[in-house]
């Protein structure tokens, strides 16, 4: 189902004209409102009036997560605080989060985008939407929530955790739409089975699953176990939150990116050259309608491709392929973004712990696990078991406090973590997608 026929099926010529007009406006906005962008554009020799065609986009420098970090906390905001109504944050690459802001118009646009994604799965007023994404600084919960309300659906704002209780609510309240991470969907199915629940009898019809990469094999499994249509949704807090792109239930082949608000490109992450349609590379997005936190040519680090072929659902918007990985070392553990550098920062500030560590990512049942192997040297070694266990627990607690991800710290003997000549092998990912 298409919520906004005019915008979602606009002829591409008209769409490009709209995109250019909006691109010009946003470049002008950040040039005048954000000192960082004025400096960047001046250095590149680009004035807002130089953007005369969509091809001129290529003259604009890229923005990276490091740039946002350098302007911590609020120097990238392009609206005064009296116009900002919400601040979210994603995990940064070290201890500090990456804050993002929204004006009322941004919040409305976001709700509209999420309403479009729900509609793409066939949801409508009268549906009951069970939201298991986390509520809080993370954009998942509130993003899905506002979208469902905008659609006129009834929201059950469950947030994460308490899986057995969630299964009970699915049985008793009869939600028709489920929003969560794909791994949590499988976990719900697992716990439901233990509780003797037959999901064939539940009213669930469609699931909007995102915040972590998954595969068509996982889709087949989720659909078979939960008896619903499973759709992939894409979003990142820097750009908006959930609702940047969505699969349509008609085709389930690629995620339509809402090009009237987000201008996508694919680049070679090494040479930074733009790549032609269809080629695989790093997704770069320019937000062309946001007020409080617009980003020009933001490097998402997600590896995918763009497909401009018409879709049978009728949308004219390009589709991004399933995410194939990252061009940086970010890990996604149960929907939480984790960078090895974050773990490292905790270890470094733990007295006596050697900087040699390794992250082992695995999947137990349906849930991701992250084990941190830490070498024990003489500075921290104790002859008492309780002291060693306190050391491990202390590191686990710190990582949980800072980055909201549960890890298991495993103490290992010195020199057991391989040292390589070039880049240390910091991450071993044993998950099979």
């Amino acid at each position: 189902m298409i919520r906004d026929i005019e915008n979602e099926t606009r002829p591409r010529e008209e769409l490009r004209a709209l995109q250019l007009q909006r691109l010009q406006a946003v470049v002008s906005r950040v040039y005048h409102m954000v000192p960082f962008y004025r400096r960047r554009l001046d250095e590149a020799g680009v004035k807002p009036e130089d953007i005369r065609s969509l091809d001129d986009l290529h003259r604009i420098p890229y923005t990276t997560k490091q740039d946002i970090r350098d302007n911590y906390p609020f120097a990238m905001f392009a609206a005064p605080m009296d116009q900002i109504v919400r601040i979210h944050a994603s995990s940064g690459t070290t201890g500090k989060p990456t804050p993002v802001a929204y004006t009322q118009r941004d919040i409305d646009m976001w709700a509209e985008m999420m309403a479009r994604t729900l509609a793409a799965g066939g949801a409508h007023a009268g549906d009951i939407v069970h939201v298991s994404y986390g509520y809080g600084l993370f954009t998942g919960g509130l993003g899905a929530h506002y979208g469902a309300e905008r659609l006129g659906a009834a929201v059950i704002p469950v947030s994460g955790g308490q899986t057995r209780r969630q299964v009970m609510l699915i049985q008793d309240f009869g939600p028709t739409v489920l929003c969560c991470t794909p791994s949590f969907a499988l976990y719900l199915a697992e716990v439901g089975r233990e509780m003797g629940v037959d999901f064939k009898k539940s009213k669930l019809r469609v699931g909007i699953f995102g915040a972590e990469p998954w595969s068509d094999a996982m889709r087949t499994e989720i659909e078979a176990r939960l008896h619903l249509d499973a759709l992939d949704i894409y979003g990142l807090s820097e750009i908006l939150g959930p609702g940047v792109a969505i699969e349509c239930v008609e085709a389930k082949r690629g995620l339509h990116i809402f090009e009237d608000h987000f201008l996508p490109e694919i680049i070679n992450p090494t040479t930074l050259e733009p790549l032609p349609p269809g080629e695989t590379g790093e997704l770069v997005i320019t937000t062309i309608t946001k007020e409080a936190f617009p980003l020009l040519r933001y490097r998402t680090r997600d590896i995918t491709s763009l497909d401009y072929a018409p879709c049978k659902c009728g949308r004219t918007m390009a589709r991004i392929g399933r995410l194939q990985g990252r061009s940086d070392d970010m890990l996604i553990i149960r929907g939480v973004n984790v960078f090895p550098s974050q773990i490292e920062s905790v270890l470094v500030e733990t007295e006596g712990v050697a900087p040699h560590y390794q992250l082992i990512v695995d999947r137990e049942g349906q849930l991701d696990t992250l084990e941190v192997a830490v070498e024990v040297d003489e500075a921290v070694f104790s002859d008492e078991v309780k002291a060693m266990q306190a050391l491990a627990k202390g590191i686990e607690r710190k990582i949980k406090d800072y980055f909201t991800v549960s890890v298991k710290v495993k103490l290992v003997e010195p020199r057991t973590i391989p040292r390589s000549e070039g880049k240390a092998v910091r991450v071993i990912d044993r998950r099979k997608m």
Partner: protein, 143 residues
């Protein structure tokens, strides 16, 4: 009055304990007493050996994490209730035993027990006051 104990960090995997004993054996080190505390992930091996410094160098040279702890070697009458007398005295004085293990060999007719205390000096003082015999380090390494 204090005895030097070597502690060795061991990952919980096959062959690590054998490796330690092999290294010490080849280095001509005699193990006088040992105890192994284990958890699901790791173990802590505690050893009393005849040549502490040599043993420490050998193990460190092979990449083991080695620690030094001072413990007390106590003579305990080898008869029913012998250990109980010592422990009761400690309990009465509020001295906590972190861990303890028995010596392999006897000294004459009595047993030798290694004690690890938080407050070592206080424990030694109390035990001596109670008339408990405590071995000197050199005596223990030669036992």
């Amino acid at each position: 009055m204090k005895v030097e104990q070597i502690s060795v960090f061991l990952e919980n995997k096959a062959g690590r304990l054998a490796e330690v004993t092999r290294i010490l054996g080849e280095g001509g080190i005699n193990i006088r007493a040992l105890s192994l505390a284990d958890t699901t992930d790791f173990g802590i091996l505690r050893l009393i050996v005849d040549k502490y410094d040599t043993a420490r160098e050998l193990l460190k040279g092979k990449g083991f994490t080695v620690g030094k702890t001072e413990v007390v070697a106590v003579e305990v009458p080898d008869r029913p209730g012998g250990l109980g007398l010592v422990l009761q005295a400690l309990a009465k004085a509020g001295i906590n035993v972190e861990y303890m293990y028995a010596f392999v060999q006897h000294s004459g007719k009595n047993a030798v027990i290694i004690f690890r205390f938080d407050n070592l000096d206080q424990a030694i003082e109390l035990l001596q006051k109670e008339g408990v015999h405590i071995y000197k380090g050199e005596e223990v390494y030669r036992l």
